[in-house]
């Protein structure tokens, strides 16, 4: 056990945990966040995605020892139902979800791609996302529309 510090959605925390504990379990169980989710534990699907210092990572396999000292953003940190981030607004406007269990990965990898490719089209975004990113309800059509809508709002 070791005291490990972490900033999550702008707040600082210290956790007394086994340093091999994956970041995801600390977010899910200690901080009781619902955004990042366990999908595979193998970096194959993206459901556990969070931003670490602004870059998307898989929290299911990132041990706390390697996350400590960094700044984590989950989809809770982007906005709320009353005050959503423009990306979240785009997903609501396009009704871009079915079960939405995958949504952290699609939104956070999508945000990262679009923020560096403003004005990107749906097909560019589709191919710009990583291949180890899944949506098993296959809501791809509207998720890509939502990301393209958001891409129109991002200033180059």
């Amino acid at each position: 056990m070791a005291a490990l510090s972490l900033t999550v959605n702008g707040q600082s925390y210290s956790f007394d945990v086994d340093p091999t504990t994956p970041l995801l379990y600390v977010l899910m169980d200690d901080l009781q966040l619902n955004g990042p989710k366990f999908g595979c534990g193998l970096m194959q699907c993206g459901a556990c995605t969070v931003l670490l210092d602004g870059q998307p990572i898989r929290s299911c396999t990132r041990p706390m020892s390697a996350a400590a000292g960094h700044s984590i953003t989950t989809i809770e940190g982007l906005g709320t139902p009353d005050n959503p981030h423009p990306l979240q607004t785009a997903f609501i406007e396009e009704q871009a979800a079915q079960c939405a269990f995958c949504i952290s990965g699609v939104m956070l990898y999508g945000k990262t791609y679009v923020d560096t490719h403003p004005g990107a089209t749906e097909q560019q975004i589709a191919q710009g996302l990583p291949s180890n990113l899944l949506c098993r309800c296959y809501t791809h059509v509207r998720m890509l529309k939502a990301l393209a809508r958001y891409a129109q709002e991002v200033q180059p």
Partner: protein, 792 residues
């Protein structure tokens, strides 16, 4: 804040926040209502959830806790004018929760924001079986569903208002939950004033007249889904997010091989691990429980178990031949007297064989459940938070597994990861319940990816289907012969058969064996999972229920024992059968040199199926010509294909046109465009229906291009997403267009499983159109497409 409301409760079952708020607003105790309905017993109350009922014997299997025929089971009106609906049809991301809000708003003439809907909770909602089979629309809009109860309630409110205002019912009108005299709107009374906080005490009236769909103002519009803002901001509470006070974490340890049994468990292997690890062994069920999730995962991985050897599995490469040689339970869907005679008369006979493998649900989140079980035997009690498709069947079966009375069990549905059928939700609910009972604390279990894929789900079974058609000298099909082999083991869990799913079997409940037997001739028509093609007349004992005009048919299905658990997977049987039937009609069309749509139309009789096929063709810009397309010699060949079906013979008309590019050098297939047309009667929520159609098209594409369960001689080997490849992000996606045929003069049908049913044949037919090569085995991998190309 949902989390807080849970943590405030102690070890007692707590109401979901929606339910608690609704009950408070309703102004009366639902327990009192339920107690008031004669001999029925209710097992919880808001104030005291722990008091056990005493007057019902444990052997009584009752499904009448919330009686389906009582208006009060479905709707409550509060003094503050809020309306609470209760439903046994759950939300899995398909949008039916929102549709039910629309139905209540329309039928009751109240604004949407005044409505709360309580979904799938054995203590609160009527037993509507499972949410499956695209049956939610037919059920809730049918004579035994929510709509009829609402119509009864509205008519009762009108009668009460007429009495109070001293006019006749015919003189009244209603708006926003206020009934008024049409000629003098100042004479008015609200629902809350009439019945707020009281019961209706009414039996659902079959003669009550629901609103005509042509008068809908909320249904038929694209009301945004209720839960999407919470889902995209991380606020939504899935079953995976349920956290109870004192909750511990469990992991299961499944056998390494199919059929392996526990010989011994070395508990010392985990005794020094942190987290107060406990090991639970019940027959072949093994689990560990620890304080933390990571601690449980480490203990499960470290636990040393000595397992017996398993069974030898059928050779996967030879599966389809194996299936033909096993003892089978047979069923006949149609058996015309003149099949042999017609084949004798035919000037041309064509035959082909189609194969679809075992496939997985592969929900992106592995299955999870939280159980709080206290005690054993007659005094045992349990609350199960589950993403099951059927809270009542889960209640009945988990009670048997735990050995406690079913009336002491409450199952509360919470949405899990995408549900396409009998995934691991029920099995993991058993896992959590068994571990909670063993350690005496609430336990959360979430399966590992491997356990989900190898030891969680009931797979969709493989099919091998032989089709044979006889043609007359006009090229018309005069006889159709279908013979299929499929596999079965287990199914949905029931009180009688908890062994229908994996954990039930591991813990020692037998899985009912498949009993071989020959088929009796059919006595009435059902199309048996679309085994009867769209072109069959479906004539049984002089009555014809099919959608086509081929009158001479034999439709025979053999079911053999499966080595793996099987169960409903989105479009069960329908998908595999429709791949065969809709590919084969295309093969016959090509043989006679006919355009695939024109040839279909020659054999269809159902006007709605004809219409949806024409609508899909028109929207796609279909060019009438035979397949295959004239090759232009390029490496990338392009083509288009079509398929159509009336789902399950009575539940949603669908057509799909797919356009593909086939790389002749690599065998790679890229679907570039999919045009889907749907007629499911009155469209409740156009955008929601389009969402289902788009997802169905792409999921169907993934299943037919990529997906196949694999195994070696002892175990499942497709245990992660690398070994069970699916369509993913990072590759180009087809343009998907949707066409809705909004028929307001017919009953509501289902839609959720319709478009996926026609994806595989539309794509296979497009591959043929592009190349002249026919793929008859799912998935259409590059290797199989190349082999087909080399065969042409």
């Amino acid at each position: 804040m949902m989390r807080k409301s849970r943590s405030e409760g102690l070890r007692q079952p707590t109401l979901t926040p929606d339910a608690a708020a609704a009950l408070e607003r309703a102004g009366f105790s639902r327990r009192n209502f339920l107690k008031g309905t004669g001999a029925l017993i209710v097992t919880f109350s808001v104030a005291d959830c722990s008091r056990a009922p005493s007057s019902r014997s444990t052997s009584q299997v009752s499904r009448l806790d919330v009686p389906l025929d009582q208006v009060d089971s479905w709707i409550a009106i509060a003094q503050d004018e809020s309306v609470t609906g209760y439903t046994g049809k759950c939300e899995f991301g398909q949008g039916f929760r929102t549709v039910q809000y629309q139905l209540i708003a329309d039928e009751m003439y109240v604004p949407l924001d005044r409505i709360t809907l309580i979904v799938c909770d054995t203590a609160l909602t009527p037993d509507q079986g499972t949410t499956s089979g695209s049956q939610s629309h037919p059920t809730e809009f049918g004579p035994n569903g929510l709509r009829q109860a609402l119509a009864t309630a509205r008519e009762a409110l009108f009668r009460l208002a007429a009495d109070q205002l001293g006019v006749t019912v015919d003189e009244l009108s209603v708006q926003d939950g206020v009934i008024f005299v049409a000629a003098d709107p100042t004479q008015r009374v609200s629902y809350g004033q009439l019945v707020g906080g009281q019961q209706f005490n009414l039996t659902v009236d079959r003669a009550a007249r629901p609103k005509d769909p042509r008068e809908y103002t909320v249904l038929g519009t694209s009301v945004p889904r209720y839960e999407i803002p919470d889902k995209v901001t991380g606020q939504f509470e899935y079953v995976q997010s349920v956290r109870l006070p004192g909750m511990r974490h469990g992991k299961v340890v499944r056998p390494p091989f199919v059929g392996a049994s526990v010989v011994s468990v070395d508990e010392t292997s985990v005794q020094n691990l942190p987290g107060n690890v406990q090991v639970v062994v019940i027959n072949d069920f093994i689990g560990v429980v620890a304080d933390g999730q990571w601690q449980a995962a480490r203990a499960a991985a470290a636990l040393r178990v000595n397992w017996s050897a398993g069974v030898t599995l059928p050779n996967q490469a030879d599966l389809y031949n194996y299936m033909r040689t096993q003892p089978s339970r047979d069923s006949l869907t149609v058996l015309s007297d003149d099949v042999d005679q017609r084949f004798g008369e035919a000037v041309n006979v064509i035959s082909a064989t189609y194969k679809t493998p075992y496939q997985k649900h592969g929900s992106i989140g592995s299955s999870a459940a939280v159980a709080d079980v206290q005690g054993t035997g007659p005094n045992g009690r349990a609350t199960i938070y589950s993403a099951t498709q059927g809270v009542y069947p889960q209640r009945d079966s988990v009670a048997r597994v735990l050995g406690i009375p079913m009336q002491n069990v409450r199952v509360i549905f919470l949405e899990g990861s995408g549900c396409y059928g009998l995934n691991g939700a029920d099995t993991v609910s058993f896992d959590a319940a068994l571990l909670s009972q063993a350690v005496g604390a609430p336990v959360r279990v979430q399966l590992t990816r491997k356990d989900e894929m190898a030891w969680g789900e009931n797979y969709g079974p493989a099919y091998v289907i032989d089709l044979r058609a006889g043609l007359n000298d006009q090229g018309q099909i005069i006889v159709w012969d279908y013979e299929a082999w499929t596999l079965s083991k287990g199914n949905r869990p029931t009180a009688a058969a908890p062994g229908n799913i994996i954990t039930g079997a591991l813990v020692g409940f037998p899985t009912p064996p498949l009993v071989p037997g020959s088929a009796d001739p059919p006595t009435s028509y059902s199309n048996n999972g679309n085994s009867d093609s769209s072109y069959g007349a479906g004539c049984v004992q002089g009555r014809c229920g099919g959608t086509g005009n081929i009158e001479s048919e034999r439709v025979l299905t053999h079911t053999i024992a499966s080595p793996f658990f099987t169960g409903p997977l989105r479009s069960p049987g329908r998908l595999q059968n429709t791949f065969a039937n809709e590919s084969f009609i295309d093969e016959v069309a090509a043989l006679v040199g006919a355009d695939p749509i024109e040839y279909r139309l020659r054999h269809l009789s159902d006007p709605r199926l004809i219409n949806v096929l024409k609508a899909g063709a028109k929207a796609s810009g279909w060019q009438t010509r035979p397949s295959p397309n004239a090759p232009d010699g390029s490496t990338i060949a392009t083509g288009r294909g079509v398929a159509c079906v009336l789902y399950e013979g009575n539940n949603g008309y669908s057509a799909l046109v797919a356009e593909v590019q086939v790389n002749r050098s690599t065998g790679q297939v890229v679907v570039t465009r999919m045009v889907a047309a749907q007629d499911s009667g009155p469209v409740s929520n156009p955008d929601g229906l389009r969402n289902q159609m788009e997802g169905g098209a792409l999921q169907g594409m993934s299943r037919c291009l990529r997906e196949e369960v694999t195994w070696d001689n002892q175990q499942i080997t497709s245990i992660d997403w690398n070994r069970y490849p699916v369509f993913h992000f990072g590759e180009s996606i087809p343009v998907v267009e949707t066409v809705l045929l909004n028929r307001l003069d017919v009953p509501q049908m289902g839609a959720g499983e319709c478009i996926i049913t026609v994806a595989a044949p539309a794509i296979a037919n497009a591959i043929f159109d592009a190349t002249g090569a026919r793929v008859r085995q799912v998935p259409f991998t590059p290797a199989r497409v190349l082999a087909a190309l080399q065969g042409t």
